[in-house]
Assembly symmetry: C2
Homo-oligomer: 221 residues x 2
């Protein structure tokens, strides 16, 4: 198994929430499961720590990173900036073909919305945002975006998606597609910011708090 694959596998395990935020990372188990020794596992953990998904505590192992409200706010803020930038660049560079693909993804997403299929809706939603970022034609940007969105998604917040919020999100997506088709960079950038701001408000308002599941609260001396 290649180094990058090990990193990817563990990243997925973390993103799937299989190891909840704040929980210890069981080295031994992961070694057995991935059928590797501790050396490559630990290399991967250090990489994931640099990415912000894992927290290393000297001499007492590693844990799945736990995000505070502040962390979440910061991540959204950066995500917003990256998407806005991607939107502007995409409008300069996107091909008709790519626009058509995103339009198709949009239509599919709207269909999922009509059917009330939240999971599929989210999937489609993500595909559109990633499509825009990729259309920016900037791998550095795409990489940072992937890293930031991964950390956001990491926190399996369960935002109660109200019909109002959902409808708003869909209408915003209509505007996004529209700006993209018009190749209106400034407009797209503006809409994307608003879209992300709304999402962030949802998440934080919903009382995002990464509850400590495996660590007792410290008693004060």
């Amino acid at each position: 198994m290649l180094h990058e694959e090990v990193v990817g596998r563990i990243r997925d395990i973390l993103l799937d929430g299989e190891i909840p935020p704040g929980a210890r990372i069981p080295e031994r188990e992961l070694c057995e499961r991935l059928e590797i020794s501790r050396t490559p596992l630990r290399e991967a953990l250090k990489v994931l720590a640099a990415e912000g998904l894992v927290q290393l505590l000297p001499h007492r192992g590693s844990r799945a990173a736990k995000l505070t409200d502040k962390d979440m706010r910061d991540l959204f803020e950066v995500c917003q900036g990256l998407e806005a930038l991607a939107g502007e660049l995409a409008c300069e560079r996107i091909t008709d073909r790519e626009i058509a693909d995103i339009a198709a993804a949009h239509a599919a997403m709207v269909q999922h919305y009509r059917e009330g299929d939240l999971i599929q809706y989210y999937r489609g939603n993500r595909a559109i945002h990633e499509g825009i970022v990729n259309a920016a034609g900037n791998p550095v940007l795409a990489g940072l975006y992937a890293s930031v969105t991964a950390r956001i998604r990491r926190a399996r917040y369960v935002t109660p998606m109200t019909p109002q919020r959902w409808a708003l999100a869909v209408s915003e997506h209509e505007a996004i597609l529209n700006a993209l088709q018009r190749r209106d960079g400034a407009g797209l950038s503006h809409i994307l910011r608003a879209h992300l701001r709304h999402k962030r408000e949802e998440v934080l308002q919903a009382g995002f708090a990464e509850t400590e599941s495996s660590e007792p609260t410290l008693k004060i001396a």
Copy 2:
């Protein structure tokens, strides 16, 4: 020596250009120099590879990453976006004290300009940009910014700094400080973008090309 320190030491060695872009990373030598074994060294190299400073070639070792013109353009583009975002956020959050510090750094930088001390000028320039990014109060943003600027700086491009360019840069910095003092987020963001765009044009126009120093060009079969 702590893991993070090892990463930092090697990062510095790369940023100092001690190992030129494209050159093989001498594992053995680095081990001796840092007085560590291969295990922690290799952990650090994988982290630096994830950061984009090192290129890992399966079964044939690691090299100092070499940037193409496209890479450089992409990095500048993202750097621009991050600084613009930082500028906007900084205007919302910066304290009078922080403004005063940046103003002082600006004055010092202008003095270095007058004295024609390019090295000190660059140092001051960097301090100002970092000051703005830090004033944004977003560690995630600061981290990404550090990573991107490191990669840019990594490429020891030698831009011939003409008097005209230098004067323009200084006048842009006047405008930057001004916008910051007025806490004009949109204005600051706009100026920062222009400033970075000019810098990028300089670098790329100057024919940035990471000349291959240690690898013969492949002969076409």
